[in-house]
Symmetry: C2
Subunit: 266 residues, 2 copies
């Protein structure tokens, strides 16, 4: 099916040219969605963020991603949908496509049982990316090598995920998730002004429970009652161990996880 330059492709199909700027320079934007009950979940929020990311990377996003997402999800009960738009080869224009894959077993496991995590510095101060837009804070591009290297560093430390801290001691985000902490009965998540991605899962969770959006210090994180990592496919995953401190699967996280899962079919 071709949708004016956009199409769903088999994962195994070569789709990008060798001289595509997405391939050579990581100049592509993407969104990862959960497919639930034959539909892409929370599609509007993802498309909105895709548009913002594309503008920051100077990519002329083609129209039709909504239709593409719906078409690619049809008939699938559960799955992962990636919407990708590369800048394309010089002179050739952007290349948009959707890839559907299964939900990895470890993602289901993490959703059910939580993950261990370690804190890692991202090296930047919390204010830095707001002041220097070329550092691309809040942009979901495919230039994710540091994200993936951070996950490998976490694995090398015996953990399953990472939480980035700023150089001046503030909580930022996880390499592929938004951080929410439960402190003294209150849920809190860092603001977009620290240069992080605006979490689509956080936005859904905020429709379910109040979440204060304000800077979270590393000390608050270290002393939190519960720590949650929010992302589209894994949903609400509890951090059951942070920097070696056992946290367990707490009641707030379990409740939020189940309520978030219920939104996927509404």
């Amino acid at each position: 099916m071709l949708l004016e330059g956009l199409r769903p492709v088999a994962a195994s199909e070569p789709v990008l040219r060798a001289d595509d700027l997405g391939v050579l320079r990581g100049e592509a934007v993407f969104e990862t969605l959960r497919i639930a009950g034959g539909r892409p979940a929370h599609l509007a929020a993802h498309l909105q963020r895709l548009v913002l990311s594309a503008a920051r990377l100077d990519i002329a996003l083609p129209a039709g991603f909504a239709e593409l997402a719906v078409a690619a999800s049809e008939g699938l009960d559960d799955g992962v949908l990636r919407l990708v738009c590369s800048k394309g080869a010089p002179g050739a224009g952007p290349v948009g496509f959707a890839v559907v894959t299964e939900v990895p077993a470890e993602t289901r496991q993490a959703r059910e049982h939580g993950v261990s995590a370690v804190t890692l510095t991202l090296g930047l101060s919390a204010a830095q990316r707001a002041e220097a837009p070329w550092l691309l804070g809040g942009v979901k591009s495919t230039s994710y090598a540091v994200n993936m290297a951070s996950l490998r560093a976490a694995a090398a430390a015996g953990a399953q995920d990472a939480i980035w801290l700023s150089s001046d001691g503030w909580v930022l985000e996880a390499p592929t998730a938004t951080v929410v902490v439960s402190v003294a009965g209150e849920l809190v998540s860092p603001p977009a002004s620290v240069g992080i991605l605006a979490g689509t899962t956080l936005a859904v969770v905020q429709e379910l429970v109040p979440v204060a959006v304000r800077p979270v210090s590393a000390a608050e994180l270290a002393g939190a009652d519960e720590v949650l990592l929010l992302s589209s496919v894994r949903g609400v995953a509890a951090v059951v161990e942070l920097d070696g401190r056992p946290l367990g699967l707490g009641p707030v996280g379990k409740d939020l996880r189940d309520r978030f899962e219920a939104t996927l079919l509404r």
Copy 2:
């Protein structure tokens, strides 16, 4: 021609799968070489760096890139050779390829007449990346969106290139080049310990003239007699205007440029 998983491809040929981790996560490494007189210039140094980059990204680099580079360059008097190795799709193994393109007209222009540049912060302290290897200092990956956004920020400020400074006031590198300054009759370039790429062109230049390798402060840069940007295809390009201050095409840069060009055919 197939070289056990490696092959030269036409720029226009789709080569990467939609689920390739190079495409989705910027997990690919690359080198850009000048083709001169039918041969890839300074190939050994580029291959050595490609190996180091691949190790840092946990990519199992296939053998045969030397032969691939030689085969792809044959018969070309002048050109750009990109050697790329993507991590590949999960379970499918790495994908290596070479792409040959023409030297862009603006690159020749810049080599001849120099470029204007502005300084931009990279947000990180000079020591940061040595302490946090997951930030991938010194790794040439395709996660280059910040590099490209920095060049767009420079263009928006009316300049043709950028020089990154650390958050604590030290000169780092340019988005696609190594910085060398001429100060009080001495050539100086920042050390790899500030988290920058080990420049292959700098290594060649160091065989021609002495270049001291030590931290260069932003103040030294601002007061330098000449500022040079070293990269494989553009060669030695003079910064003729820095942050609005005219520097012109100085004698040191001109001499080095011509001597570097002469190495390409030896």
